[in-house]
Every structure is written in C-alpha cells, then in structure tokens.
C-alpha cells in the first residue's frame, strides 16, 4: 500500500520523513554509512507520530475517520469474514449500492452482514453515493435482518456513513419511515445484533442500522447527531467553525464511551487504521468474534430485555422529586 495522503496535523511527520529521505540520498550519493542517523530519524518519526496520535482533538479524529485510505466496510468484510455472498435489493424498489449486505462466516459462525460502503475515487463514489443510503438500503438491511431472524443468524452491522441521503427520491420513498421502522424492528429482532462504527457514524443514517446489543466504535471513528460542518452552519452561522462544533458535539469514541452511547472502543494500529489495513482488520475481527461468542450464549429473551434497557437508559435530565402531577 502506498503512503496515505498526510492530513494537516501530520505535517511534522511529513517534514521528518523528508529529512529521512535526504539522509538516505546523501548516504547513497557519497557511499557513506548513515545507518545510525537513519535509525535515529526513524525512531523520531515514530515518537512524533505517537505524540500526535495520542493527543488528537475531535476535529482531527473526524478527518481520520473520513480519510479516503481508511479501510472501508468491504475491506473489513474481505479480511474478517469468509464465504461472503452479497445479497442484493430490497424487493420493493432497487438495490442500494451504498449499503452492501449479505451473508458470511465470522470464524465458525454464520452471520448476516450489513454495511455502509464509501468510495475511494469519483467512479466508486458515484456507485456508492458517497456512502449515503436511500430508503431501499435501509429496507434491504431490514429484509436481511429478518432473514437472519428466520434462520437464527446473528446480525453484524459495519457503520460508515456521512448520513442517509438527502435527496428527492429519498424523500419520495420515505427515508425517515425506513429508518424509523428499522429502529423499531431492530429493537425486537430475535437474534443477537452487533454493530461497529468503523469510520463515520452520521446521525440517523447510522442509527438506522445501529440498534444493537453491543455497539463498538473504532478509536478514531466518530458518531454524531449532526456533522460538525452543519452544526457550525446553524450555531455559528458559518461552516468555518467545524472544529469547534466537533469539540462541542462530543462525538469522539472516547466521549461517547463516557456518555454510554457506545459499549467498547476498538483500538487502531499506531498512526490510524488507514496506515495498516491488515492490522486494523485483525483487531476488529477479533473484537467482533469475541463479542459475538458472548452474545450467542445469552438466552434471546434476556438479550432483548437488555437491548431495550440499554437504549431506555440513554438520556440525561433532572427530575426534582416533587413534580406537579402524577408519575408514569
């Protein structure tokens, strides 16, 4: 894999890499041994990278989550699963390429796999609609989840979308209804559901396949009620405050863990998943597998009760003991 496009905050690393390159060229040119300098520089690069990645702010994480060379859902499907068979279409309108779904094995377990897929170039992005699904994507996902229920296959959902698609056809075919129905039906689905936010968790479009018994999020992924840009446009009347909005929205994996919105953070290789697809997939695959084994052992009625309670508890409000009126 070629070196990923550096992000703005990775500039110090780029600068060190440039100097490393110079040392190497100098060494070749003059047939001199600069091994120790090379080694020192390489170590310095690693330390700098770690320093940067250990102190990422919310907006930097959003940029990593959106990195075009970050592993996408199908990269994980290819590496973590076997016997993948994509199953197309919602049997109502069409096949949403932004949401590939299918059947596959995770280790020895047969699963239903629901994904959001983004593209790396213009051609792919046109095909995948930038990872923004239409109603038929959500309805296909539900069709497959119900197939899973019928054949006792657990559901694994890999979330990576900027959001459900805001378009004319989307509204005409009731994107809101498609998401709402998924929220209700996932709450009742009589098989374990495991979700992982692997990149972007864009609001209702992400939640529409995210009502799960266990919700994981990658270290540098984000999950937000609104994009930082749109939040900035509304609250600051200007899209340039996206970084502040990202901070304010508490959308990072670490913040969401504190809010109990997610259940587990899955670590990424040093320097982000976009630098090491194989390693990232290995870590996620292990996390999916161990959680699936755990969920499969829980009796389904107990699991459904826990699923309900998990979402039921979310929210934060004050309730003074002396209210006027009865309590529900």
């Amino acid at each position: 894999m070629k070196e990923p496009q550096p992000l703005d905050f990775e500039k110090p690393i780029v600068e060190l890499q440039r100097r490393l390159q110079e040392i190497r060229e100098h060494s070749d040119e003059h047939a001199l041994d600069f091994d120790s300098e090379v080694e020192a520089m390489e170590a310095k690069i690693e330390i700098t990278r770690r320093e940067i990645y250990d102190n990422l702010n919310a907006w930097q994480r959003v940029q990593i989550a959106r990195h075009v060379q970050r592993p996408f859902a199908l990269d994980y499907v290819e590496r973590c699963f076997t016997n993948w068979n994509e199953l197309h279409g919602d049997r109502l309108f069409g096949d949403d390429k932004a949401m590939p779904c299918g059947i596959a094995m995770l280790g020895e377990h047969r699963c239903i796999v629901i994904t959001n897929q983004k593209g790396r170039n213009t051609k792919e992005n046109v095909l995948r609609n930038f990872g923004c699904a239409h109603p038929e994507g959500y309805r296909k996902a539900l069709r497959l989840m119900q197939l899973g229920e019928k054949f006792h296959l657990p559901v694994i959902s890999l979330i990576d979308t900027p959001g459900a698609y805001p378009g004319i056809g989307s509204e005409e075919r009731h994107i809101a209804e498609a998401i709402a129905v998924n929220l209700r039906e996932m709450m009742k689905l009589r098989v374990p559901i495991l979700a992982a936010v692997i990149g972007e968790g864009g609001s209702g479009g992400a939640l529409g396949i995210g009502v799960a018994d266990h919700v994981m999020i990658l270290e540098n992924a984000y999950y937000s009620v609104i994009s930082p840009e749109a939040c900035s446009a509304i609250l600051w009347k200007d899209r340039r405050h996206a970084a502040e909005a990202a901070e304010a929205l508490k959308l990072t994996a670490q913040d969401l863990m504190r809010l109990n919105v997610v259940d587990e953070i899955v670590s990424e290789p040093d320097g982000g998943a976009h630098r090491a697809h194989e390693k990232a997939a290995e870590i996620l695959g292990r996390a999916l597998h161990s959680n699936l084994e755990r969920l499969l052992k829980i009796p389904i009625n107990q699991l459904l009760k826990k699923r309900y309670e998990k979402f039921r508890r979310l929210g934060n409000f004050a309730e003074p003991p002396k209210g006027n009126g009865a309590t529900g």
Binding site: P166, V225, A248, G315, T327, G328
Partner: protein, 284 residues
Amino acid sequence: MAIFKKPPTGGGGGRKRRSDIPEGLFQKCPGCNEVVHEIELTENQRVCPHCDYHFSQSAKERIESLLDPGSFVEMDASLHSVDSLRFQGMATYKDRLKKYQESTGLIDAVLSGYGTLEGIRVAIAVMDFAFLAATMGSVVGERITRAIEYATTERIPIIIISASGGARMYEGMLSLMQMAKTSGALARHGEARLPYISILTNPTTAGVMASYASLGDIIVAEPKSMIGFAGPRVIKETTHQDLPKGFQTAEFLEEHGLIDQIVHRRKLRPKIAEFLRFLGPAAA
C-alpha cells in the same frame, strides 16, 4: 441531521409573527394575506377563517381542543433538560433553555400525560414548536417514552402530536439516542396490540420524523404541513436539482403513500375518536 433554523414554507411561525400590526391582536395570514383578529383565530382553533391556513398551536391548545374538557392529567412535568455536554457554541444551552422557558412558559418542548377523548382513555404527548423548534433532547425523549410505556401498562392507546426541527444538537448523541428509545417503547406498545395514532403538524422533520412520528398504526397530518427528513435547502445544495412542486407537504406525502389521511384541525377530534373506537385495544 438537518435542523431547521426557522419553519420552512412560511408556516409554523404564525404565532409569534412580527409585523406592523400590534402583536397579539391582528395577524396577517401567511396563507391568504388577510388580516385575522386574534379572537377569531382562538375561536377557530387557530385556523384562518378565510382560507383554512393552519396557524401553529401550542401544545396546551392542542390538548384542550383534542381531549375531553378537564380530563388531561400531566405526567412527568418536573423533568428538566440539563447541559450534560457543557455545550460551547455561540450561545450556551442553558441560555437557550432559559430563553424558551420564558417565552413559552413551558419547561421543555413536549407536554405529556393522559386523559379521555370522547370518553376513550388515552395517553398523549404533544410537541410544541415554539420551544427550541421542538427539537428532541433527553426530556422530550424520556417523556414520550414514559407516556408510551404508561399506555402499554394501562393497555390504552397512545396519541403523539408531532412537530419538530429534529434532534437537539446541544445534547449531541444523547439526543439521537432518543430516536431508538422512543421507537423501542413503541415496539412494545405495538406488540401488546394497542393503537398508536401519529398526528403530524407543521413542520415535522428529521430525527422525530425518522422515529416515532413515522411509526403510527394510523398517520394523519394537518393540511399543508411541511413534513420530511432532510431540509429542502440541504436537499437543493446536495442534489443541485429543483424540488418538485409541493415537495415535502402533507399532500405530497399522501400522494406518495406515507400518510393515511390529511385531516382538517376542526375534524381531528371526531376523526381520532372514530379511529380509536374502530381499532379498540385488541383482545390480549
């Protein structure tokens, strides 16, 4: 998720409209430009007597016009929003809450409780657009969920009158999670085979539309209400397309198969009663 800065398609803001006319006495109808007196509006359930334009109603007015007089008992009235994210923006969440609490006399964007409608016991939750665009935060989600759970326990129908700009940004992901929470409560209410009537009013959008508002056994809408997921401006910017005529109106959505009926506000009470009597609570 799109959150509207102001109610689109000219509606919804009628109640607080500023103009040359002294506020609270006369209003210019956004539907027909006729000047309407406040008393006329009040007597006519805030519907324009000239053109049937539906001005927005407060949650309190809606409950008064829908339920049997004096039957409403409010539940969970003490629930207050808290600034759990310590939201830092142009204005703090606390200031926004305070401002809308003062301007509306409400604690948050929903009233919930139970009462009777033509003698039928119902649980009810009504959103009030005048409070922070009736965005759904933890309090809205919790009160709606409790109203649904109360209905499930009591084996009675639930009525939710929606209006909303969507999720409440100030509560971040806790706001989004209310979608799952309320939909989950409706799943249980539905499994108990109890009726849920969803009433959509101007405007109902985004996260609320993508959760309980779309899940009614029967979905009715007030005429000309703006109803949708994404805001029209966002759709235009994303697609670079002209929007179809009447896009995202109640009439458009009835035509496209989402809404069971468009019901004039004056007919809402007898119509809902008819639906409830017809469906009844199914035998357990």
